[in-house]
């Protein structure tokens, strides 16, 4: 049986004095063995909260609903949302799921070398492999491991946290904005590494605002807008012509395409409309859009009353063939 993570109707709310933040609403998707799913969307739409919900890392003011079934190897299926913290800490975090955190530099302890931090992760997870071997797989030379975090470039720090995330040989890797602030060659190297992990029989959930990075590795693209997954499609289909108006707008904003911004701004997550949250910015809206659109069905799901039918007029110039 192939391994998979199946997320169903996942919702996360944060309770603040006088307000409720709807950070994730009714999200459903699946990540399968050997595949990379990219979750894209603008900052603040709920991507990191989704990752933290799957890892059981939400703060105390959060409530979660829905399920996230992890089925890997011989282990019995586990619902990450219902599982007690003890189980998540002992068997999931670092072992079945590795998290590559947002802003790697902030996650390394400044006073200890990269080697000391990687060795500690290996020890804690009971992995007898030498630190050098794991580092080499992440693209680091042994002497680079002897550096302190402030002596690492952004790209090297990224590789160190990648290596730490892999220390427990996890099946699923969740990478949260692993390329923020890196230049293109480093983005390319990171994407190649994530692809290799998927090809090795693992699964990758890539969270990013960078559509071109997503295009390089992803098999499927899920687009999040104002806490909801509004579109979910095979990558090739998505880049040939996304059907959700928001997804189409994001793609048209790329410098390689129209370089035109989407007018307006996303709604506040404390005050979401009952209908489609994209309505005030959408040029296809009708009266029907004040009712929440259904998520649609596989393989290409679009939560929209009036999805685009045809691919965009601009042919794809730089699709990366694999």
């Amino acid at each position: 049986m192939t391994s998979s993570l199946t997320v169903q109707n996942l919702s996360v709310r944060f309770h603040l004095p006088g307000a409720t933040v709807h950070a994730v609403s009714d999200a459903s998707f699946e990540v399968r063995q050997g595949e990379c799913l990219a979750l894209v969307g603008e900052s603040g739409c709920g991507k990191s909260v989704m990752a933290h919900a799957l890892m059981g890392l939400l703060p105390g003011n959060a409530t979660v609903a829905g399920s996230a079934w992890l089925r890997t190897g011989g282990a019995p299926p586990l619902d990450l949302i219902a599982a007690p913290e003890r189980v998540l800490a002992r068997t999931v975090r670092g072992r079945r799921i590795g998290l590559v955190p947002q802003s790697p530099a902030a996650h390394l302890t400044p006073v200890r070398t990269a080697r000391a931090q990687l060795a500690e992760a290996l020890r804690e997870l009971g992995n007898p492999a030498p630190a050098d071997e794991l580092a080499a797989r992440a693209g680091l030379a042994p002497e680079q491991l002897d550096r302190y975090p402030h002596q690492l470039s952004g790209g090297m720090a990224q590789r160190v946290v990648n290596a730490i995330a892999l220390a427990g040989d996890p099946w699923l890797i969740i990478a949260d904005e692993p390329t923020s602030g890196l230049d293109r060659p480093l983005v390319d190297a990171t994407m190649t590494e994530l692809r290799r992990l998927a090809d090795d029989g693992r699964a990758v959930l890539l969270i990013t605002h960078d559509l071109r990075a997503a295009e390089q590795v992803a098999d499927h693209i899920a687009v999040m807008y104002a806490s909801r997954v509004v579109s979910h499609a095979p990558a090739a289909e998505f880049f040939a012509g996304p059907r959700h108006p928001y997804a189409a707008g994001l793609l048209e904003a790329l410098p390689s395409r129209g370089f035109t911004p989407i007018p307006g701004r996303p709604p506040e997550l404390t005050d979401l409309p009952a209908g489609c949250a994209f309505l005030p910015r959408c040029d296809r809206s009708t009266a029907a859009c004040s009712h929440l659109p259904e998520a649609g069905t596989e393989p290409s799901r679009v939560a929209c009353h009036h999805p685009l039918e045809r691919p965009l007029e601009h042919p794809l110039e730089h699709h990366v063939a694999r």
Partner: protein, 214 residues
């Protein structure tokens, strides 16, 4: 013209710039590209009078700069604005977005200018203007930083990887705002980015040159 000649900067024993030259002409977008770590950000801090170089000459519209940071003359200092890659590291976390956008008026002892209109123009609502940095997204915070940079109508605007952290739509929006500012005021823009497609789209309309560092 904002002109740097033979700029050399060392941090301790590590020399990051060795005799770098760069000219930013008014009215056009000059591109600056180069691999990470090659000294682009250091050079941009010199150009914005925030870092005194170890050697070299900086002139702003013909006036040579002799004093840096807070000791530079107010007139010279306000002629060059700098927008950073990471808005979170560039703001005081205790201020509201409105206060961030209006900081330059305060700092120069001027009556508060049209900070609200500028911020509105950049896509910030009154509701967002009363929030503090930890209550907004990177994109919203960067909009406030752009409002702050344009507040005193600088003659030169240096954008150091201004949109690297932002989604495609916010990127396109901020670049469009800066282009509108350039056309309206004839300001010179320095667009620093490692993204070649962005560089082309941003420099093309004004026909400005692109400088490559290595």
């Amino acid at each position: 013209m904002l002109r740097a000649d033979g700029i050399t900067v060392a941090y301790g024993r590590q020399r990051v710039l060795r005799g770098a030259d760069l000219a930013v002409a008014p009215g056009v977008v000059t591109g600056l590209a180069g691999p990470s770590g090659c000294g682009k950000s250091t050079l941009s801090r010199v150009l914005a009078l925030l870092l005194r170089p170890d050697a070299g000459r900086l002139t702003v519209d013909g006036t040579e700069v002799h004093r840096w940071r807070h000791r530079a003359s107010r007139d010279l200092r306000t002629r060059v604005a700098l927008i950073f890659q990471q808005p979170r590291l560039a703001v005081d976390p205790r201020l509201t977005l409105r206060e961030i956008a209006a900081e330059p008026y305060q700092a120069t002892g001027r009556p508060p200018g049209p900070a609200d209109e500028l911020a509105e123009d950049l896509g910030l609502t009154p509701e967002l203007l009363v929030r503090r940095p930890h209550e907004v997204s990177d994109g919203q915070l960067q909009r406030a930083c752009v409002a702050r940079a344009l507040a005193l109508r600088p003659r030169y605007v240096i954008c150091d990887e201004m949109t690297t952290m932002l989604d495609a739509s916010t990127q396109a929006h901020l670049v469009a705002r800066l282009e509108a500012y350039r056309r309206e005021t004839g300001a010179g823009i320095l667009a620093i980015t490692h993204d070649e497609e962005l560089l082309t789209r941003w420099t093309e309309p004004s026909g400005g040159p692109t400088v490559r560092m290595s």
